[in-house]
């Protein structure tokens, strides 16, 4: 079977467009949206299942499939428009590569997803994995103006636009942000950029969780507007106590003024990280999310953060936790069984808190699904969306678990 698949794909894409993965599975490496569409059409005709891959540094490359479709060949940045603060990038471009290019123009993409910096933009968007900057800069969805995706039956769809404001037609690109590739393969994005701030300062303070949460509330009530305000568990902070980290961006004078207010408003002593350490601090925090087999995301309200953290610690463990003290989003990494995930998902759903499985080995993804415990009416819509955009279910994605919620 594998040989026949390999041969068909080689015929379709040429020698350059086909290789084998570590397990010997045929891996298509298309370089255009048209080639991605051709692979999807062939897979649908042949009844093959496709595993979508970026650099395989976030989701393990273990979904069962006859074909791997890697976006690593789509690694171009067709345009950067500094005057419009917009860029067009292919899905296989890595975040670190994009950062380097934007840096030359004094701009940046204001996202700081968990994982390694060589994650692809496609992976970040498909999994909707925002980091601490979601507080001040918005989640991943807010940075995507439009783009191109390929459906399971090989159609090329281009939604949104390249301008920063647009309501023409339905916002079909939203379906792909955080859709885990269940509704199509994003191949290209138009992204919103920002000019780099003149000052970018990170400060940290340690203590017990309750005190830090009280301080975080005081900071927000004082109308400071941090770009990030993240509470890190001791294991996440690689220390003996919980850490509250704040990131301030803006004009130098304004950031300096905020730093002075910070100590007064929070009543805590803060350490200002030197520039060379602040970058490393956030990089290590992002990478720590890879230090366990499973990563979960819970969307709580900041006012209920304390209670939701208790729930997570009780049902799982204190392990590796990064929690948005200003927006309420909790990311937990560790080892959890499908039963534990199901149980936590049910309890949190009763509190109107969605639990998304961001990352896990296939056996856990298959059992629990990325999504579950849907609210009223959602399941039916998700099923229809799936059948509309991947009618033959060629994408090997566990959107919903095999175990009933």
């Amino acid at each position: 079977m594998s040989e026949a698949v390999f041969s068909r794909l080689r015929h379709l894409l040429g020698e350059r467009g086909i290789e084998r993965d570590a397990t010997g599975l045929p891996r298509a490496v298309p370089e255009t949206s048209e080639a991605v569409a051709a692979v999807c059409r062939l897979a649908m005709e042949e009844g093959w299942r496709i595993r979508i891959e970026g650099r395989s540094t976030w989701l393990p490359p273990d979904a069962p499939a006859q074909v791997v479709l890697s976006l690593k060949g789509m690694d171009q940045i067709p345009s950067i428009s500094p005057a419009d603060l917009v860029a067009t990038v292919e899905a296989g471009v890595t975040l670190e590569n994009l950062r380097r290019h934007l840096d030359d123009h004094g701009m940046w993409l204001a996202v700081d997803p968990p994982g390694r910096s060589d994650r692809t933009i496609g992976s970040i968007v498909a999994t909707g994995t925002s980091g601490p900057l979601r507080l001040g800069m918005g989640p991943v969805r807010d940075h995507i103006l439009g783009g191109t995706f390929v459906t399971g039956d090989g159609r090329i769809i281009t939604g949104g636009s390249r301008v920063v404001k647009n309501v023409a037609g339905y916002d079909i690109t939203k379906l792909q942000v955080g859709g885990f590739g269940g509704f199509g393969i994003m191949t290209q994005f138009n992204i919103r950029l920002r000019s780099k701030a003149r000052a970018d300062i990170t400060l940290t303070t340690g203590g017990n969780r309750d005190d830090l949460l009280v301080a975080a509330r005081a900071i927000l009530q004082a109308s400071l507007s941090p770009a990030a305000l993240e509470l890190l568990s001791p294991a996440m902070a690689a220390g003996a106590q919980w850490v509250l980290a704040i990131r301030l961006l803006g004009p130098v004078e304004a950031v300096q003024s905020d730093i002075e207010r910070l100590a007064a408003d929070s009543g805590l002593a803060w350490e200002t990280l030197p520039a060379e350490r602040s970058g490393a601090f956030w990089t290590l925090t992002a990478r720590a999310a890879l230090s366990g087999l499973v990563t979960l995301r819970l969307g709580a309200l900041p006012v209920g953060l304390d209670e939701t953290l208790d729930l997570v610690v009780t049902e799982l463990d204190e392990g590796l936790i990064s929690a948005g003290a200003g927006d309420g989003t909790i990311r937990w990494t560790g080892n959890a069984t499908p039963d534990q995930i199901h149980h936590l998902r049910r309890i949190s759903a009763a509190r109107e808190i969605p639990l998304t499985l961001e990352r896990a080995p296939w056996n856990i993804r298959q059992a629990t699904g990325h999504f579950g415990a849907y609210r009223e009416g959602v399941g039916q819509l998700v099923e229809r969306l799936r059948l509309t955009y991947d009618p033959s279910q060629i994408f090997s994605v566990a959107l919903e678990g095999s175990q009933h919620e």
Binding site: V163, A168, D171, A254
Partner: protein, 481 residues
């Protein structure tokens, strides 16, 4: 409309809230855009969520098309129903259901007027950021349907960035809860898909919104420029400097003249070819630093005058002219054709020159008032629709402006929506496959296509969207276009 349907609706909402007389229906035949009118078969005004659900279930039973409508200020020919359709007006569903100042959330019914929410939360030091120019009249349900913007969306984002959760009534009468109080979705981003779907996916019965703190400092600057081009270049320079103003608005000479001749006169410089209204907000130090930087940039790009509002009253006066500009333009001619295209910000100088050339070629009065910071143009053409030659020239000029915006890499609409008005431009912006994918998306939510039929997507331009498996799934796909 059959008697059974009308009797059924009367039984649900009471006879007072079903309107069918010609004079009553006339109120509902336009959404403020003079070029598109349609008289509905009947108008229904449910007073409760349960009445709205019962009405929609009745219409589903009889397979009657319907259009949801708020205040009717959309300016796109979107919230219009024709003779065989029911117009469901939601202005009686106007309760603010809850305000949680600590969580910075509000839950509202769709008929709540935009400005009323900000008024209600001000006592907590909060505001609802999206502020369409019609905010004193438009409803939050309408804002959700259109993904409405407004001057302050440059910094704070448009409606979709502020909706965290929706309870939606689908056309078949089922209720779906999308999103969560946090904003995190249950599965794919259904809230993101629903917001801006122009009433074609269903009706938002409950809307949970994010509130933001009122800024501790605000600085508003008004600058007059000798040319539109120099004002446009000042806009680009502010954005390029990494400054994100809360608002960055431009008005040209024609607009300024209309405002200054009206009761909304704000003291704008009449000798300027264009004025820029720039507002910065945030912490006091940040606002002070950026305000000084903006003033320098304005002057270095040729501003002949710069006023800095020093009091809330002065600020309010400067904004009054901008917010009421559309009303002031009503003095210029009986009718106003309103455009809403978007271009890349760097294209603004050339595009505004191009619009001026088009204006001269067709001998028209065009007043530009727009969100310069995000490239969202509103070239408004004053005319009298009773003059067929003039109407034809307006139509031709509109098409040429739209083509120029698309050629610059822009969009046909930034905040008003497609509705009926821009449906013919959709295939200039999207290919047949994408239009078909949008049709298929609509059928996920409304398989019978009864919610606001005939709007947004030019069905005849869609590529066929069928597939073997989905053909067997009720209400999914399978209908050739």
């Amino acid at each position: 409309m059959t008697g059974a349907v009308i009797d059924g609706l009367i039984a649900i909402v009471g006879p007072r809230w079903v309107k069918g007389r010609v004079a009553e229906l006339a109120t509902y035949r336009s959404d403020g855009l003079p070029t598109h009118e349609s008289t509905p078969g009947v108008v229904v005004l449910p007073g409760t969520r349960d009445e709205a659900i019962a009405a929609i279930r009745l219409l589903h039973h009889h397979q009657v098309p319907f259009v949801a409508r708020g205040a009717g200020t959309g300016l796109s020919g979107g919230a219009l129903a024709d003779r065989d359709g029911v117009l469901l007006t939601l202005t009686r569903l106007n309760r603010i259901l809850s305000i949680d100042p600590l969580a910075r959330r509000a839950v509202v019914e769709p008929g709540v007027i935009n400005a009323r929410l900000s008024d209600a939360v001000r006592q907590f030091g909060l505001q609802y950021a999206p502020d369409p120019s019609s905010q004193s009249a438009c409803t939050l349900g309408g804002n959700v349907a259109e993904n409405a913007g407004g001057p302050h969306c440059l910094k704070y984002g448009v409606t979709t960035n502020h909706v965290t959760m929706l309870k939606v009534l689908l056309a078949d009468g089922t209720v779906v809860q999308m999103g969560s109080p946090n904003g995190e979705p249950w599965g794919p981003d259904l809230v993101g898909l629903f917001v801006g779907s122009e009433g074609m996916f269903g009706i938002a019965l409950e809307i949970s919104l994010r509130l933001v703190p009122l800024p501790s400092a605000v600085s508003t600057l008004l600058a007059g420029f000798p040319t539109v081009r120099s004002a446009s270049q000042a806009v680009s320079s502010i954005i390029a400097a990494g400054i994100v103003p809360a608002a960055l608005e431009m008005m040209d000479r024609s607009c300024v003249a209309a405002v200054e001749a009206s009761i909304y006169a704000a003291g704008y410089p009449l000798d300027a070819a264009a004025v820029l209204l720039v507002e910065l907000d945030g912490g006091a130090v940040s606002v002070g630093v950026e305000s000084a930087a903006v003033e320098l940039l304005l002057r270095s790009h040729g501003a002949t005058s710069v006023q800095v509002a020093t009091s809330p009253a002065e600020r309010s006066r400067l904004w009054q002219g901008r917010k009421k500009a559309f009303g002031a333009m009503g003095r210029l001619a009986p009718d106003l054709a309103v455009q809403d295209a978007v271009v890349p910000r760097s294209s603004l100088p050339d595009l505004l020159d191009e619009i001026d050339i088009i204006r001269k070629r067709h001998g028209l009065v065009i007043s530009n008032v727009f969100h310069a910071g995000d490239g969202n143009l509103h070239p408004n053409i004053s005319f009298d629709r009773r003059d067929p030659d003039l109407s034809n020239r307006v139509r031709a000029a509109n098409q040429e402006i739209m083509s120029a915006c698309l050629a610059a890499g822009g969009s046909i609409t930034g905040e008003h929506g497609v509705g009926s008005d821009k449906i013919d431009y959709m295939d200039h912006m999207f290919d047949p496959e994408t239009l078909a994918a949008m049709c298929a998306l609509r059928r996920v939510f409304d398989p019978d296509e009864r919610a606001n039929p005939g709007k947004v997507i030019p069905r005849h331009r869609c590529r066929e969207w069928t597939n073997g498996r989905s053909r067997h799934v009720p209400g999914v796909t399978g209908k050739p276009e």
